[in-house]
Amino acid sequence: MSILVIAEHDNESLKSATLNTVTAALAIGGDVSVLVAGSQCQSVAEAAAKISGVSKVLVADNAVYERQLAENMLPLIVELAAGKTHLLAPATTSGKNIMPGVAALLDVAQISEIISVESADVFERPIYAGNAIAKVQSLDAVKVLTVRTTAFDEAELTGAASIEVVASVCDAGNSRFVGEEVAVSERPELTSAKVIISGGRGMGNGENFALLEAVADKLGAAVGASRAAVDAGFVSNDMQVGQTGKIVAPDLYIAVGISGAIQHLAGMKDSKVIVAINKDEEAPIFSIADYGLVADLFEAVPELEAKL
């Protein structure tokens, strides 16, 4: 078996999602190489070479790959797919953007967001927002997979893979990066944070999220929200944790004023430890929380901040 993992990076640093994906690749077994496609991304390639279990790092370093536009990435990956049995990418917005097209050009299926590797061709993945788990067997010669990073540990960084340059330059010429607005925050990103504190409709309004931010600052946590809070206009959609928002699995998830609608639970129930603070004793969130506190959040949250 010969596996290619597409690295997630920003041309400067390798994103940890790549490490989770390599762990999934290693679970499949066989030779694992990593593709770093970017621009001026030598440092990323060097970081990737340190991932334990990786035999080779392929580097396609060209301006056309700077933003990893799908239109340019597809021909490159399809070319490198020759002889590969598995192509893996993390199920990030980048991986999800690129991999289905690769599968289509190879005339194979993509199996999305796998959460376990049962064998080289059998994988488990959540469907119906995590309300069911499907066990799927690939019938294709090449398996194209995206990997739910929260389901796999990060690979270690004790390796020393060789780095090989890929010369191909693919420029489809029909798409162009124009700009980006990166959410500027001192806090970690939701999807990679170790601690998350989220607010729901019970927060009452957007200003009250300052209470959560104060706790987040003490814990180095990211701040999230339930769909109800987003729908109510308290906070923006990119903070939404849940079925239609971001899927997270931090070490500690603190749900404040969140009733625990099924859509929300789908996005956070794989967290290691869940804390729920809600004044409604009957709120469904308590049925999955490790620690439940029935209290008025407007008293409990400032007190929590003070005690941390």
């Binding site: 917005t93 289905p100 993509q110 999305s112 162009r176 506190l293 209290a295 409990a300």
Partner: protein
Amino acid sequence: MKVLVTVKRVIDYNVKVRVKSDNSGVDLSNVKMAMNPFCEIAVEEAIRLKEAGIATEVVVVSLGVKACQEQLRTALALGADRAIHVETDQELESLNVAKLLAKVIEEEQPGMVILGKQAIDTDNNQTGQMLAALTGMPQGTFASKIVVDGDKALVTREVDGGLQTVELNMPIIATTDLRLNEPRYASLPNIMKAKRKPLVVKTIEELGVSIKDHTKLLSVTPPPERQGGIKVADVAELVDKLKNEAKVI
């Protein structure tokens, strides 16, 4: 410009999903079905493009069982002009859907195709991207804003950690994210009008696309249940438990 929009019939998102006891799948018999929420956003975007004078015609397409026509009628009631139903009782994998849609695109020659980024049943998030690859059209996935400017489109995409804007040569494939718009409801007069709008039924054979299975579903099981823990009396006890028992802070 003609805009083609895809619409999928899925379980209503309010319905609690039940896994069949023989683990062969999810029990969909007699449950409430509805238009996939991301497809509703796609339909809404197309109608807004038409209202803004950018699109001239909105064509909606659905693939699947006869009952998909209900969702097509809903799309027509929302303001789409005509509908195409590719009728089949077969479960279609994303790649097969993309191939069939590519054929429809070849016939219809739209200036833009808008799809939901994913369906809330299979959660695959791949048909739009596959369709782009098969047709060679550039893709603006997870769109939160679509601006058409002559023969180019500026698509703002929801990416991890923020927003990214790309410029794409028309015609394009766009897939919708939640923030793109807030879908409207069908008004009663428009529901009435929708009954008279054209809906063409086609078969896979008529489209001349050969399809095959690429995966096999071995089983569907309920997710492991997470057990509830304990209730703490106050904040002090909570902090103590997190520090000393769970050791997460």
